[in-house]
């Protein structure tokens, strides 16, 4: 247990229990999103869907990476994951990214994807605001995840016709910001 690390966080004025609970809820959101995106990706078919499949897959893999990166920090801070998977699912910080009623409606799938990313962007912004200048390690982690969530949002937003994302997609390598936490 990282006793001194926990003490530093407490002394910085961050409510450790609240922070750990937020990290667990966001870890749940990442793993459940990974699961639901698997279903969404499988349904992105046809002339419209195939063009989006690649970014849905990149976002899916990176969300799983976010889960992997969050877990060590939760335990360092004295927290733990729920023992029951269903409890973990149900404590998610974001709603399930469920398949739309009409699974052939690619625009509806894109709306589910972009709303899931927007929930994540708000969640990690909140954690960054809470930890900035106080809990440096959690801030660094949350900021790295936030960078990737913002890119996911902009990819899906671009496909919805909301405007250009301003950057290219991944080129064969996932999690350019979070990968340092996975080594």
């Amino acid at each position: 247990m990282a006793k001194v690390a926990q003490e530093m966080v407490k002394r910085s004025g961050v409510d450790l229990d609240q922070l750990v609970e937020l990290l667990v809820k966001n870890a749940a959101a990442e793993l459940t999103t990974y699961y639901y995106y698997t279903i969404l990706r499988a349904n992105l078919i046809g002339l419209e869907g195939e063009g989006i499949k690649e970014i849905a897959e990149a976002a899916r893999i990176e969300d799983r990476n976010h889960f992997e990166a969050l877990v060590p920090r939760i335990y360092e801070l004295g927290g733990k994951l729920p023992e029951n998977m269903k409890d973990f699912h149900d404590c998610s910080a974001c709603p399930p990214a469920s398949l739309p009623k009409d699974p052939t409606d690619v625009k509806a799938i894109l709306k589910v994807l972009v709303e899931a990313e927007r929930c994540a962007v708000r969640g990690y912004t909140n954690i960054c605001n809470m930890t900035a200048g106080k809990d440096h390690r959690t801030y660094d982690l949350a900021l790295s995840i936030l960078n990737e969530e913002i890119e996911h949002e902009s990819w899906f937003s671009e496909f919805l016709g909301e405007g250009p994302s301003g950057h290219f997609m991944r080129r064969g390598e996932n999690s350019p910001f979070v990968s340092k936490f996975l080594k």
Binding site: E21, L22, K25, V121, R122, G123, T125, N126, N129
Partner: protein, 79 residues
């Protein structure tokens, strides 16, 4: 339109089957149907049954997300 005192509002805390109401800038909203207010808590930090006006500036979203929910009354102005 119903006028809520702070004490009345506090009863709508989203716990034990109670609806989840929150106040913002004098208006009371019913957020019971929101996933983000499950169990009467929002993002661990905020509780239903309270006036959120002061803390709202720090929220990573605008008031439009709250204003989507039905307004069920006004919060009594004691100032």
């Amino acid at each position: 339109m119903k006028i809520f005192t702070k004490e009345e509002l506090a009863r709508y805390n989203g716990k034990n089957g109670a609806p989840a109401y929150v106040a913002y800038k004098g208006k009371v909203y019913d957020v019971s149907s929101s996933f983000h207010w499950s169990g009467g808590k929002h993002q661990v930090l905020h509780n239903a049954g309270e006036d959120l006006t002061d803390g709202f500036e720090k929220a990573p979203h605008g008031a439009e997300l709250l204003e989507k929910f039905p307004m069920v009354g006004r919060l009594e102005d004691r100032s």
